[in-house]
Structures are given as structure tokens and as C-alpha cells.
Amino acid sequence: MSFKCPVCKKEWNASLQVARHMFGTGDKPHKAWVDSQGLSFIDLMIEQATTPGNKSYVTLAEIIEKAQDKL
């Protein structure tokens, strides 16, 4: 099972890894894609930093999984 980044098409084994890549890259195209999905990139990032656990990643990973069909 492999998941592609919706922006740069790089592949990973898990959707969580793609989510981490999108947060880590943080450039305009990646941010823009996340925001276009009805989420706020910056709010997700800040929540990740200020609360224990992995909620932001999981939220983004789910959206990435749903988007795989369209890629």
C-alpha cells in the first residue's frame, strides 16, 4: 500500500508519513493544498505543537487518504 503526496507526488508507505512530509515541507504549494481541503494548515500545525498526541497528523492523514483516488 503506498500513498502519494497530493502536491509533489512523492510516495510513502503510510498516510501519516505523507502528513508529516506536508507539515515538514511547509512551502506555499503544500500549505495551499491543505487549506483548499477545508482545513487550516497553520491551525493544525499549532495544535500539533501545543497539545499532546497526534490529532493534527491523523486529521491530515485521513484527508490525504481520501484524496488518493483523485491523483
Binding site: 501519516l16 515538514g24 500549505k31 505543537a49 499532546p52 497526534n54
Partner: protein, 760 residues
Amino acid sequence: MNKYAVINTHVHNVDGIAKVTGRATYTFDVKLPGMLYGKILRSPHPHAKILNIDASRALKLPGVIGVVTGKDTLGVKQGIWRRYKDLCDEQILPVDKVRYIGEPVAAVAAVTEEIAEQALDLIDVEYEVLPAVFEPLDAIKKDAPEIHEGFERNINVTRHIEWGDVETAFEEADYIREDWFKCGGQAHMCMETRAAVSSYTPEGKLTVYSSTQSPYYMQGLLAGVLGLKEGNIRVISHYVGGGFGGKFELDGAIFCSAVLSMKLFRPVKIVYTREEDFIATKRRTPMYYYVRTGVKKDGTFCAREAKVFTNGGAYTGMGATALYLTGFFHSFPYRWRGYRYDGYRVYTNTLPSTSMRGFGAPQAMFCSEQQIEWIAADLGLDPIEMRRKNGHYPGYEVPGQATIASCGLDQCFDEIQKWIKGKGKLPEGRAIGISACGFMSGGIFNWFDTPYSFSSAVVTINQDGTVELYVGAQEIGQGSNTTMAIICAETLGVKVEDIKVHSGDTDHCPADLGAWGSRQTLMAGNAVKMAAEDAKKQLLEFAQAKMGINIVYDLDIKNRWVHIVARPERGMDYFELVKEALRGKDGQRIVGRGYYTPHRKGMISPAYSYMLQGVEVEIDRETGKIKLIDSLTAHDCGQPINHLGLIGQLEGAFSMAAGYGYLEYMPYEDGKLMNPNLVDYKVIRATEMPEAAVAEIDTYEPEGPYGAKEAGEGLTNPTAAAIGNAIFHALGLQMKECPIRPEMILKALKEKEEKEKEGK
């Protein structure tokens, strides 16, 4: 028994005589004919638009030759992470706005330093003051002022490291603990402040004398900001009065002197005062750490989650690397089933933060090693044995990050255990604190986007057997020239005194990334070894022919004696061989070339050093004052190369790390540093420095020259944590902020007493 002729023997520093006789010429001492003196006008505001700069009054002052502002530059936003244009955000002489108190706004060149200083008061700058923000957690708020256009919530860069299933790993834990820490900044405080002399001439060539850790980086960065070809820029840096991570980026001294010289066609010298050095050169990154760790009741580490905000200050600098490394080394030197690090670097209107010896690891260890000590205490476990059962070992793979080759960590635990046992019962008020850590031997990353090998070397053999060794590796006091000479001498089979090291001049030396990230012994050392082997091989071709030995025999050179390895008594003199080789090559000198770039060595570094440090500390309950009594570091740096250099690096790193732990406080108020001088900013003095012995652990690092890996930066990592742990054992206090000052101890003691009273 030392199997080497030169390596790990007692060798004088090859620059020693120049340094102890006052002959060493630092950039601080450079004087060129027709030279002018430059001074920099600095912003008094932490955040403001530059509306207008009027230098007309200054230009009228007799002796003032010229003034430059951002408008005299190409306005290029530069940064050392050239591959990531977004992070190249600093103009040094800004065109539109200032972002921290002390940022350069204009620069003057005059015939004397005094006149240049007077001229600063005659430059009129019109600012529109903007609201400013000073702490990362304030800067990410929705209504915080935007410091850099396009960086939402002032988030400069984030880094995320994760392996394993963290949630499941936490569920497996019997005991979970979470703590918040605040790690302070630190000033590099090099004895030689930032200094540069730039000279631009009508041929279109720029020569820059600079106190730098990387002449090549200066050359490359200057080319970018000045619109010149690298080949038309010469950077000279023969003697450097300390770097410690603060001198491999472009700074105001280098940039402003170059811009002035290009305008005026005269050499311009800029030397920072100590105050300028404090307020306007980047500092160690202050960090806020949240750490949650889960372990089993037998002390097996299960999971760790760290969320970190770093105070990036006004520009990126090397802060993105510090952000990554702090998260990586926060896992060191232990195995975690699940590990997650989320790091956020936030812009604020304060002095930019960057690399400083240890590169994020001292902060990481201050948090990690103290929390681990508290967990051991909470569970009633022996702190050394608990660490030992979770430690790295040779061959361990940090998932997705690194494969550990050599690792002497286990032996380190043995040494410190022995030491602590030997101390017996300590007097009242004294305790020993320990801290483990590891560090990288240079990074694998090429964010500078260089097309060159990371390190290169050229060896040329003269007719009299003396050897010219050209390296790009930079001597900043750590002993690089000597280490390279030792490796060259050992490989070629001659003595250190036969080698003449050429470094610190981009006109004559090959490119090298420079002295940072503890990379030179491994990377430049490998390049030197390869070059010397190349030269030796060519030399031995002549010996093979002359001696006519059986094809099964090998030749080698040791102590200037060319000989059959199996029968060392049969051979010839090295000097004779050199003369014959020269004739055999039509009078051409033998030249050997070497280079090194790490390939497929994980995400961070080709090799890691390991250590465990114990520090004996005495705390006065009445005053809160800390006194360092003794220390021992069990240290694995692979094969030591430069014996005197290694001891010097250990003791020196300790003094700097101890300063980070309890002395070097940098208080800021509304973006202004409150103690920019050496009276109020405390660095350790000879009367405060304890014994800092080292117990060398013998390992062999396959990636390093002769098995060597880093020594010098890793040793800056453990001490703050070790001091904190000593305080914990002496007084039962958990100090979550560094540097740990007396008033903090007194306050914590009071709070502890009150809590105990309430408990009753």
C-alpha cells in the same frame, strides 16, 4: 601500545610558535595601505519600517569618506540554506525594515575609527515604529505582528521526526511523565569579536580578510549578495580568535566592509566592539521543550514525544538545522520503540538565533537527561543501569535516521560507575550528576547547495622531502591544521615537521565546507588521507622499480623509511626516494589529490561520538551559588588523532557547557539585551573551572580516517544536564530552566519547603 608513529602522540600545535610569540596576525590586526575604518549604525527599535536615511551631515564631517545603506546594495535576501530560497531571508543591511534592536541600518567609512564613530551620530534615520513581539508563544498568536511577509503566524520552519507507533508504545508504558523546560540562549563570546577587512580594486576583484570558520562559505555567500563571481573574491583567514558556530555565516562586519569598499575602492576595516558582538551577532537558540516519556517499571524506554518551540529571532540563520538536530539528539543515545518530535522555529523581534557549539543538542540533553534522572528516581531504579539497558550499540539503526557503526557507550557507563564508586560518600551539600549524549561527525546535508566535494586536499612533495598540504579545512583554534598535518604525516610516513599546512585562503586552498558540525576531523581528515595515499602510491612506484622486490611484497613508508612491510629492515631513505622520483617525473613534483563527501549515510551524519559525563557539584543553600568541584567524561571519539588537541577540546567544551548550565544568562527586556558586556555576562574564570578529566574509550569508526570521529562539539552537550542532575541529588530540586542561577535555586528551595510544610 600506540601502533601509530604520529597519530595520538604528543605533537605541538603547528601554529603554536606564531601564537605564543605574538606573531599570529588575526583579522583584528590586519592593516592595509590606504585603509579606512568602518562603523555600523544600528537600529534602536525591535521592529520598524525604514522611511528615510539622510547621511548628508555625516558626509560633511572631515575624514568621512563614504556612507552606505541598504539602497547601496543589490537587496539580495541571503541565507546559508541556499537550497531553500524561502529561508534566505536576511539582507544584513535591510532596505525596507528592521527586525531587531542592533540590526545594521547604515555603515560609515572614515580615516580613523574615532571619526567613523562620530559620524554615526550624524546620520538621521526616520523610522515608522511597528509593534514588536519577543517570545515565540506570543508570536504565533493570531494578532501578532507579521515579521516576515508570507510567514503566517511567524512560523519560520518546522521539523518533524517520527518512528515507530508512538501511541501504542505509550500504551505499553507502565509509567509516564511529562515536563516543560525552558532553555536559554548563549553568546559565542569569541575572544576575537567579528572582524573583516575588505578591499575592492578596479580589476573588479574583492579581497576579504575575515575572522571566519569557513572561507569558502564567505566566498560563496558574498558572490551571491554582491553580484560577483566566486572566482573574483578571495577570502583570507589565517588566524581566527574563536568561532564556536557563530562565524560561518555572513555578518555585518564582512558585508558592510565589502559594500563600503566596493563603493569607495579603498580597503575598509570593521571590527565589532564587545557590546556589538553581544547585541548584533547571532546567539544559541533559546528553546521551550515539552517532553512526555513513557517507560516500563523495569526502566525499559517505550515512548517519547517532544514538542519544541524555538525562539528564532529575526532571521533564519542556521536555526533550521539547530531545530532538526535538537529533535534528533533528544532521542540520543537511547533506543525508543516510538519517538516523535515536532519542532517549530518562530520568528520574533529579537537577536536571531543560530548554531552554537552543540547545535541544539545541549538544549536537548538538558531536558532529556534530567527527565530520565527523575524517572529513575520516581521508579527507584539505578540511573546508570536504566540508561545502560536502553543505550545504543554498534550496528543499531535509529529507524529511518541513522545506522550506528562504532559506539563505545556501554564502556562509558562502566568508567563513570567506577569513578562515582571511587568517590565514596560525598560531603554535605555536594552531589554528582551524570549525563549521557552523543554527537554527529559532520552533516550529510548539502543545504548550501555546493557542487564541490564537502572536503578536499592536495599534497605536493618538494625536492627536499618537505610536503605542502593544501586543505580547505579551517583552523579556528580547535587544532585543525595540526590534525590534518598529523594524518598527512602518518599516511605519507613522514614527520609532522615535514608538513607545511596551507589553509584559510580561497585563492590557494580547495573548497571545504569549513569548521562546524564537528565535521573536519572525519571529512577533511578523510580527504587528507586520500591525498597522502595518492602521493605515497606515486612515490612508491619508483621504490618498487628501484628495489626490484618480489611481486608478493608490499612497500610502505614509516618515519621517513621506505621499506618492505614484511621485512622492514630492507628499504631506503625517503628523502633519497623523493629526489629520484622527481627526476623520474621530468622534474615534476608528486601531487596527490583527495576528497570526501558522505554518501548514503543516513539522515544526519556518517558517524557519532558517544559519552557519559559525571560532574561533582557543591551548592550553597544560603546563597544558591553553585561550585564545580570535579568531573570525568568517559568519551568515545573513535581513534584520537591529535592528543593535545583532544584534551584541549574536552576541557574547553566543558567550560563552555558549564557556562550554559549555570552562568551565561542573557536577559532580554522588550527585545533589548540587558548585559552586553563582560562584567555582567558571566563566563567561567580560571578560579571556577574544576578538573575535567577524560577517560578515552577505545573504538574504531570505519567511516573515519584511522577510525576517528568527532571530538569537540559533543562534549558541549552533557554538562548543563549533569549540573542539573547534581542539584537534584543534592537538594531534591528539579530545575527546568537553564542557565540555573542562584536566585532560581533559592526560590525552588523555598517552594519545596513550603510544599513540605503543607504536606504535614
